[in-house]
């Protein structure tokens, strides 16, 4: 595997993981700030948001980055 491909994989992993974590954190923050939710709902909901965000972003970010970096 070329170093270029490795870099794209690594950079995109950092991007989609960070973005998903931010989405989950935003969800968590909203639940804390706006409602009287149980900790299970907050944690479970954050985990579900993280999972779905990862699923949405993984196949989106990698090709986008590859195209952008011309790999």
């Amino acid at each position: 595997m070329s170093s270029g491909t490795w870099n794209v994989g690594l950079i995109s992993a950092v991007i989609y993981t960070t973005a998903s974590t931010l989405a989950a954190a935003a969800f968590f923050a909203v639940t804390v700030l706006t409602g009287d939710y149980s900790w299970v709902a907050r944690a479970g909901g954050s985990a579900w948001v993280f999972l779905l965000s990862m699923i949405i972003l993984m196949p989106t970010v990698t090709p986008w980055l590859r195209k952008r970096l011309g790999d």
Binding site: Y37, V49, L52
Partner: protein
């Protein structure tokens, strides 16, 4: 040659793929392949079961591609060749053979074993043939015999499909009984009738956990593994929908069992039966897909099966039984009654009747005697004969037809573009929708509408203890499961596969899905007269002489046309010969395209042609005009004959209408189409023929080079035009029309212009082509209606649109059942095409008033 050196020569790699069911699978594999280093372009054909990959030289190998495809849950059925190679002496010979074969582009693996004299080769049939592999070994100095029949990609694909069916049957045998027990156990406490029948432990959560877990980690494991492999490559597919659905349902159930106060609905909402039945239904869907897969492309399989495996050839006076792909052009092949003809050729000796229906659609056996052509793959019926091979391997008619149909099935109709876009991007869209639905029910829906009497549709389940996260998650999971776009992805390609295959059965080859769609939309059909509506074999019907010597008129006309290749000229020469006239070639001959000929004979300047030619050469034909007009009004073509500037007489020639022409025109009109005839004949003649055929619009006096312009004129009226004509002479007009139908191509289909090829010389096939195309497009629209209709109706249901009104949500297992039934309904609808026969081909042809007049009878009339 090293592996690297070999790779530098490969730029486009074609790989067979098994296990695809819909457009989403295509997108998945394309994405996985595009993720490989050095891959510039990847195009996957669902119908053809192939992936074409353009790679940077040396960037990746066939095994890399195979791995990428297998990683996302599909299989690569390489062709496999088992050879008996006696004479290998140890490791050195094994290495030699392996190295030579590995150097061939398309060879994936070689296993040479001197101890058993065997060489096993896996290869891509698209890149290298079995014959080339055997030849390579032979060139190294070894004798080669094929063990058994080998196994081509088609066999392997079938084997893999059967293995998949067996695997899913095992999964079902495991999942369904356990799933049923889980369901009974779950509802034991809810349905009083079960309480008296089932022991109480069956309702215990731990018991249900113990039954469900093996289902999820057993039959359900494939979805988790495949989706994870896909995600690692940055692709999402149906497996991901299934995995998240099953995983989430199972997780909720486990949490509610072991941590009932966690807020997921508690002990009364352990959705074990959801996880179990969801898995069972999805496995059922997989099983049904595996069974129905391939059935829509049955026609191409039938064609492929026709390719004979063995041939008996005469070499050095000996009769040898060899693999059909080793027959060489020039070999004399022997065929006994009941045997298939191995390759294309010309009969040398013997007589028989051959069933060519499988290739040409001709239902009656065709007689063959010395000099006649035979087609590889067709079936010899009665007699024995020998023939000389003329076209072998990829050149045979059958190979060309298979290639054409395969290519047609890999193309995408314009109507498919939308479906593909939707299906291809649907998975991501569904996950985004599931996230949005989750957020909505979490932050808005639960507070607004949740009531204690909430239930799952069609179950006695109460969701009273459900809390905000549990409800939002349940609905989110249901959306994931219910939204599977398999049916959308299947709708168009499956119908196109069935339609192109059905066309091929009747000798009608659509060169692409776009041709199919365009044919269905045709409004005007332009029929070329000569050779299409008529037999193209005109004969002399009348000869008129000014001075009372018609024989002399015919003699001069025939002499002028002696060297002509024009059908009318040939008819005149034939007519003269038939009357015992000694036809001598003219001293000089000059064709005047679209008008006639001028020639010199014994010092006299002879002119033969139409009025325009006579007018151009200042020859007065006034005395012949009355008779000429009468003959023309009967549909005959009149040519004036003049010598040294003086009109001598005229020759009338008429072509014979094909037996089916009148019926074809009537059928085309019945289909609501405008029918036009295009011809170089003068208007009066053309209109007479048009009247006879029932054609209202006659495009007469059109020179061959102007036919395309006439088609263009019709197009400027805003009409979709189909041109039916000779694939070679009418090529420009065929290319100009929206649909060019090349009629009577025979079996050399590769040379034909036009996007629809009618193998037989029967104008009724043009009608059949329109009927097949319309039936196919009807099927496409029905399929799209069902598929889009399903998703349009099911997604809002899954997303809980009814909940505010009835306090019920769709359960994940019901969602899975709905999803499976949508794909099934589309597939079943497509399978209806299997029994389709174009109406024009049903039963005996309707009696049509065929004209008797055109039977060639020479009547000589003295003026």
């Amino acid at each position: 040659m090293s592996q690297e050196e070999k790779q530098t020569r490969i730029e486009e790699l074609t790989v067979p793929v098994a296990g695809m069911t819909c457009a989403a699978c295509v997108m998945t594999i394309e994405k996985a392949l595009r993720g490989l280093p050095g891959v510039r372009e990847a195009s996957v054909s669902l119908a053809g079961g192939k992936a074409a990959v353009r790679v940077d030289p040396g960037a990746c190998t066939l095994p890399d591609i195979e791995r990428a495809i297998e990683d996302v849950g599909y299989e690569v059925p390489w062709a496999r060749l088992e050879l008996l190679v006696p004479g290998m002496m140890g490791a050195h010979c094994e290495e030699n053979i392996s190295a030579a074969l590995n150097a061939l582009p398309g060879v994936v693996s070689v296993r040479a074993t001197s101890a058993t004299d065997s060489v096993v080769v896996e290869y891509s049939q698209a890149l290298v043939s079995a014959a080339t592999i055997k030849k390579t070994v032979r060139e190294l100095g070894y004798q080669v015999t094929e063990k058994g029949q080998g196994e081509d990609s088609l066999d392997r694909e079938r084997r893999l499909r059967q293995a998949e069916i067996r695997r899913q049957i095992l999964n079902m045998l495991f999942a369904w009984p356990l799933g049923a027990l889980v369901m009974l156990g779950t509802f034991r406490d809810s349905w009083s009738v079960l309480e008296g029948v089932l022991p109480s432990f069956m309702g215990e959560k731990l018991f249900l956990f113990a039954l469900t877990t093996p289902i999820v980690v057993g039959p359900g494991r494939q979805f988790f593994v495949n989706s994870w492999n896909g995600l690692r490559r940055g692709v999402t597919d149906m497996n991901l929908l299934y995995a998240t659905g099953i995983g989430a349902a199972y997780l909720i159930a486990v949490i509610n069992t072991f941590w009932p106060d966690a807020g997921f609905g508690g002990e009364k909402a352990t959705f074990y039966e959801a996880a179990a039945l969801l898995t069972a239904f999805i496995v059922l869907g997989r099983y049904l897909e595996a069974i129905t897969r391939g059935r829509t492309s049955e026609a191409i399989r039938k064609l492929m099966k026709l390719q004979p495996k063995r041939a008996r050839v005469l070499r050095d006076g000996k009769e040898l039984d060899i693999p059909a792909d080793e027959v060489e052009a020039g070999d004399v092949c022997l065929v006994r009654p009941g045997e298939s003809i191995p390759v294309d050729g010309a009969v040398v000796d013997g007589y028989s009747a051959v069933d060519e229906s499988m290739v040409t659609g001709e239902s009656l056996p065709v007689e063959k005697r010395a000099g006649d052509d035979v087609i590889g793959g067709t079936l010899n019926k009665t007699g024995a004969f020998s023939f000389r091979a003329t076209r072998v391997g990829a050149e045979t008619a059958l190979s060309q037809i298979i290639k054409l149909v395969e290519e047609a099935q890999t193309t995408k109709a314009p109507i498919q573009a939308l479906a593909d876009r939707v299906a291809g991007h649907f998975i991501l869209g569904v996950h985004a929708l599931a996230l949005a639905v989750f957020l909505f029910w979490f932050f808005v829906g639960f507070d607004l509408w949740f009531t204690a009497d909430s239930r799952l549709v069609l179950t006695p389940y109460t969701l009273a203890d459900m809390q905000v996260f549990g409800l939002a998650l349940l609905i989110s999971v249901t959306v994931l499961v219910i939204s599977c776009p398999c049916a959308v992805g299947l709708a168009t390609p499956s119908a196109m596969m069935a339609g192109t295959g059905k066309g091929a059965e009747f000798g009608i080859l659509f060169k692409g899905a776009d041709a199919m769609e365009a044919t269905a939309k045709v409004q005007v059909v332009v029929l070329d007269k000569t050779g299409t509506l008529t037999k193209g074999e005109p004969s002399v019907t009348d000869v008129l002489a000014v001075d009372g010597a018609p024989g002399e008129v015919l003699r001069l006309a025939a002499a002028a046309e002696k060297n002509s290749e024009h059908p009318l000229g040939e008819a005149i020469v034939r007519g003269a010969a038939a009357r015992g006239i000694d036809v001598r070639a003219a001293d000089s001959f000059q064709a005047v395209p679209g008008h006639g000929v001028e020639a010199t004979l014994d010092g006299a300047a002879v002119l033969l042609g139409n009025r325009k030619l006579m007018a151009d050469r200042s020859v007065a034909v006034d005395g012949l005009l009355t008779e000429a007009e009468r003959l023309e009004s009967e549909g005959k073509t009149v040519m004036f004959v003049a010598a040294d500037g003086r009109a001598l007489g005229l020759v009338a020639v008429a072509d014979t209408l094909k037996e089916t022409s009148v019926r074809a025109v009537r059928e085309l009109k019945r289909l609501g189409m405008e029918v036009a005839m295009i011809t170089g004949d003068n208007r009066r003649t053309a209109e007479a023929i048009g009247r006879e055929l029932g054609i209202d619009r006659v495009l007469a006096e059109v020179l061959p080079q102007d036919k395309a312009a006439e088609v263009r004129k019709l197009q400027t009226e805003g009409k979709a035009v189909a041109m039916v004509g000779d694939g070679i002479n009418d090529a420009p007009a065929l290319a100009q029309a929206e649909v060019g139908m090349a009629i009577g191509s025979g079996t050399d289909v590769a040379k034909e212009t036009g996007n629809v090829i009618l193998i037989r010389d029967d104008i009724l096939d043009a009608v059949a082509a329109v009927q097949v195309a319309r039936a196919t497009m009807r099927l496409v629209k029905q399929n799209l209606f069902w598929a889009f209709g399903y998703n349009a109706a099911a997604i809002p249901l899954g997303a809980g649109i009814l909940y505010p009104f009835v306090a019920q949500v769709v359960s994940p297992e019901l969602a899975a059942l709905l999803m499976a039934s949508s794909s099934l309904s589309v597939t079943m609808n497509t399978l209806r095409m299997r029994g389709y026969v174009p109406p024009v081909k049903r039963g005996p042809p309707a009696a049509s008033p065929e004209p008797a007049r055109r039977e060639a009878t020479a009547v000589e009339v003295a003026s």
